[in-house]
């Protein structure tokens, strides 16, 4: 996980949960793997351990992780990585489209620019 939170960018526990999802979507974290302990993660991020515990609770509600008593928090084996990846891709696409609209351009220009960039790199 890329350990960084921004206190000006909304609740920190949501940011931590989002970073766990991002790590899963990128393949840096896999189903069945153990997450760092709340305290270790809290220390690395310099945040209150309660905040990390709240993040783990949110991930559990979303069906992404599960807590095994005495063992720690694990990524669920049945987590739908593809769905996570698509959701994040759509979010990235929305951000891109927003930037395009701010330039006064439409979806056609967005698609064209994507093709151009793809051809170059």
């Amino acid at each position: 996980m890329r350990g960084r939170v921004d206190p000006a960018a909304g609740p920190i526990f949501e940011q931590i949960a989002d970073q766990v999802e991002a790590a899963l979507a990128r393949g840096e974290l896999r189903p069945g793997e153990k997450l760092p302990s709340a305290r270790a993660l809290a220390e690395a991020l310099r945040v209150n351990p309660n905040t990390v515990i709240r993040a783990f609770e949110l991930l559990e509600q979303r069906g992404i992780s599960e807590t095994r008593r005495g063992l720690g928090t694990f990524v669920r084996e049945d987590v739908d990585i593809e769905a996570l990846r698509r959701r994040r891709l759509r979010a990235a696409a929305r951000r891109y489209l927003k930037a395009v609209r701010e330039l006064g351009l439409g979806p056609e220009a967005a698609e064209e620019a994507l093709k151009e960039v793809k051809d170059v790199t």
Binding site: P11, A42, E43, R46, N48
Partner: protein, 226 residues
């Protein structure tokens, strides 16, 4: 409730330092006590520690007055309280004899974690002195820690070490009130922020709620205390 302050007021000569403060702190909470210099932060901590008696109002620590809850609130003053010629080891020896809550094993661990050098306070940098004093304070087992500006005026590396140590030493049953006017680095640590202005609590809110409304604690600080 671990700590309750009701309508607490304190004056120095004719200047009010605290002007009707209400505050409640539960076990395990980390409370950021935020305000500009002269807002009353130190007075509030001293009243809570039982070092000052309020003119008006009531302070209850574990259900009784702080003076009767000896050893239950560990107060870390902003300035080094120990003789300049003393070494931390000598102070630790003294504390271990005076406070049954002083945990030598934990102290040794904290010395390493905070990289406290073995030399007299007078020969330490400000950052080293702050780290030594924090080690001495956190080695005392207590339900409440009152830390007065532990991050003020010290180098960046020491500040970061202190923050890391505070997370490392965090316990679900102990509460911390940390006063600071340098909010930025510390805000991730807080459960709640209490903003003090001219001796009054002007805002008391869970920090994640402030962020939900789109404002960091730093931004709220500027807004509320400007």
């Amino acid at each position: 409730m671990l700590l309750e302050l009701k309508e607490v007021a304190k004056r120095y000569l004719r200047t009010p330092a605290l002007d009707g403060v209400d505050l409640e702190v539960r076990g395990g909470e980390v409370v950021g006590l935020l305000g500009l210099n002269g807002a009353g932060k130190t007075t509030l901590l001293k009243v809570t520690a039982g070092l000052l008696v309020p003119d008006r109002g009531e302070v209850r620590l574990l259900g009784g007055p702080p003076r009767r809850a000896r050893g239950k609130a560990v107060y870390l003053p902003e300035q080094n309280p120990w003789p300049a010629g003393a070494r931390p080891a000598e102070v630790a020896h003294l504390l271990a004899g005076a406070d049954p809550g002083f945990d030598r094993g934990r102290y040794r661990e904290l010395l390493g974690f905070l990289e406290v050098p073995d030399r007299p306070f007078a020969q330490m940098s400000r950052g080293q002195r702050a780290r030594a004093n924090l080690a001495l304070a956190l080695a005392r087992r207590a339900p409440l820690y009152l830390l007065d500006e532990p991050l003020a005026g010290i180098d960046l590396i020491s500040r970061d070490r202190i923050l890391k140590a505070l997370v490392h030493e965090w316990r679900a049953d102990a509460a911390v009130i940390l006063s600071t006017h340098e909010v930025g680095e510390a805000e991730g640590l807080f459960d709640r922020a209490v903003f003090l202005k001219e001796g009054r609590v002007v805002l008391d809110a869970p920090v994640e709620d402030l962020r939900r409304r789109g404002k960091s604690v730093v931004e709220t600080f500027k807004e509320v205390l400007a």
